[in-house]
Symmetry: C2
Amino acid sequence: MDISQFDQINPPPRLLMGPGPINADPRVLRAMSTQLIGQYDPAMTQYMNEVMTLYRGVFRTENRWTMLIDGTSRAGIEAILLSAIRPGDKVLVPVFGRFGHLLCEIARRCQAEVHTIEVPWGEVFTPDQIEDAIKRVRPRLLLTVQGDTSTTMLQPLAELGAICQRYGVLFYTDATASLGGNPLESDAWGLDAVSAGMQKCLGGPSGTAPITLSPRMEEVIRKRKRVEEGIRTAEHQDGDDQMILSNYFDLGMIMDYWGPERLNHHTEATTALFGARECARLILQEGLDNTIARHQLHGEALLSGIQAMGLEVFGDVRHKMNNVLGVVIPAGINGEQVRKLMLEDFAIEIGTSFGPLIGKVWRIGTMGYNARKDCVMQTLSALEAVLNHLGFKSVQGAALQAAWERYASEGRL
Amino acid sequence: MDISQFDQINPPPRLLMGPGPINADPRVLRAMSTQLIGQYDPAMTQYMNEVMTLYRGVFRTENRWTMLIDGTSRAGIEAILLSAIRPGDKVLVPVFGRFGHLLCEIARRCQAEVHTIEVPWGEVFTPDQIEDAIKRVRPRLLLTVQGDTSTTMLQPLAELGAICQRYGVLFYTDATASLGGNPLESDAWGLDAVSAGMQKCLGGPSGTAPITLSPRMEEVIRKRKRVEEGIRTAEHQDGDDQMILSNYFDLGMIMDYWGPERLNHHTEATTALFGARECARLILQEGLDNTIARHQLHGEALLSGIQAMGLEVFGDVRHKMNNVLGVVIPAGINGEQVRKLMLEDFAIEIGTSFGPLIGKVWRIGTMGYNARKDCVMQTLSALEAVLNHLGFKSVQGAALQAAWERYASEGRL
């Protein structure tokens, strides 16, 4: 290997308008360039405590156990599922897109008995549909996705907590793609566990996963407690339920690391924690309601523009996430060619799709740092130009005018 | 919550001379402040391929599957163990410190039948001891720790590959704390899997774990392949061995993500990857042999200084890691008080210990960016001052003189 071929990192500038990752807020990247401190330095444990406080604000919860899992968003999902599901437990997964399948897949790896209900991609479930399935299946856990970027749909969750309470079901949601850009009320909605990711509406890079656990979920997990050899002492007591089949994702041990015991587990990913702290701090400075409203505004401006361009939108728009839009690729247009021109000639990335939507739908995101007017206007302008170049006819400037009108309606021209 | 209480990140400056994490190289932190690009952007997949090439150099291997696991070093360990160990498999773990216990603990979570051999803390195993145990146990895997920071010992591995070959045993080592600071020859030593961490000799922050897998290990893992629902198509074939009981750590899926298939799995932790790339690039620019020699030089200078101060060293010095030194806390001295004064009055962190060594041994690291003369001299100087302040008698300046002499012997005064 000739090491001189490897220059310092210098990626091309990109405007990331896909379903995530999106451009990180530069203030988050600056926070992440901070020099390290020791794992048990009083300054470090103070930052860990601050992260817990800040994410309580973002998750809208009083849950003590609100912390980070060192890994990408699916590490947060797997930590919760592995810690909560005992082999043989019944779980119910309402599947309305790819990430519902992912929950099934992870639950099967946890050796759960997985039951699903499905709606076509582009739709969501009514509370009645979910309650009926709970009555039939009698699961120990209900595993939901709040916002599934594969379909752009946002599953209403507000009424599900009361249903779960009624049937003694633990209620989890994967809010990776929705948190910060759409309302989520962990406590008011009766959620027992929520996990998220940094690279969507929170405006940071992938690599750490905020989670929150209700006291009821804590109790379930504590019953499976094992303190690892090498650090255990006589006073440590194991729980009486089955051991969690992972060390890295054992939330009991992770609680003992984040809690006052500070029992050594992993070496906290300090840089990722600094970034996660800054993401939450910026959102709470803006005001979480304002952050969500910003996502709604720019999402709607994009929607207006796309529709004014004569393009069809995918799925049930009443249940669309604020931060991602599915755009049907018009007949006669090669979707990948459009993405290629957008990327190469405008340095703008828009998303492709998974599964049944491959080749049929683009996904355009407006989230986190990129939930901004200039991002929406640049993207609409470039897309109009590329489509025109490839022979798709639209009224020149109509998309931009429609977006401007949406902004004008809120005095944001 | 009053958000104005949360200021931007601003930790106190620290010189981290413990067993890790240590100060990250500023060039690595700068690389990590780079703006993001999309997960399948040609520039991103190019960087992923470069990371594979660079870590082949660091691991001294031709293994195709040399890549990153998104998580801390124990995520790398667990990904390998979960992917290789089937429930009921016999594994042998030679335990000479805390991290041997950790391998046992993780292997038990993988439902392995765990067999151990032990030596007292401060010693290592001879190849014969390990071969005898292999003959007796007949394990499917030998799980070793190369450098166990809990005891500062470095287990010789060079002869173990041939033994494993003879008995058809898969050979793994955890090189978290040793890689980059001590010789490791993955291919020449017949290793089937190695995992590492960033926050020791590699000079980066914790948060991603480089691993390498031999073709034999790949074969074992491919037999357990499952492609997840939601992205699987008719042409995907499952393996005929037992499914891996984790999605996040399923190395088969992670290979398909890093390989030309680029099957979506997690969203790569781009910032951590940029950092890991820079760590490897800087080491290979310096030349890996030079990096190891630098660790040896500064480790020996520290050792000379500590001995000249009249302090006793812990363990068998012939088998000490280059990058960590165990120092016996002298009688009548409160180890924690020393650490507190070092941190508060000199901003230097040295390490405490685990298990049987708690309160008996400090651990002082000289690794990665902090394997430097000024770090060694500052640490010796501060420690002499603090010990003198607390009533421990030593010859003024003798420690520094001894370190200078060690540097002089290599013309590095």
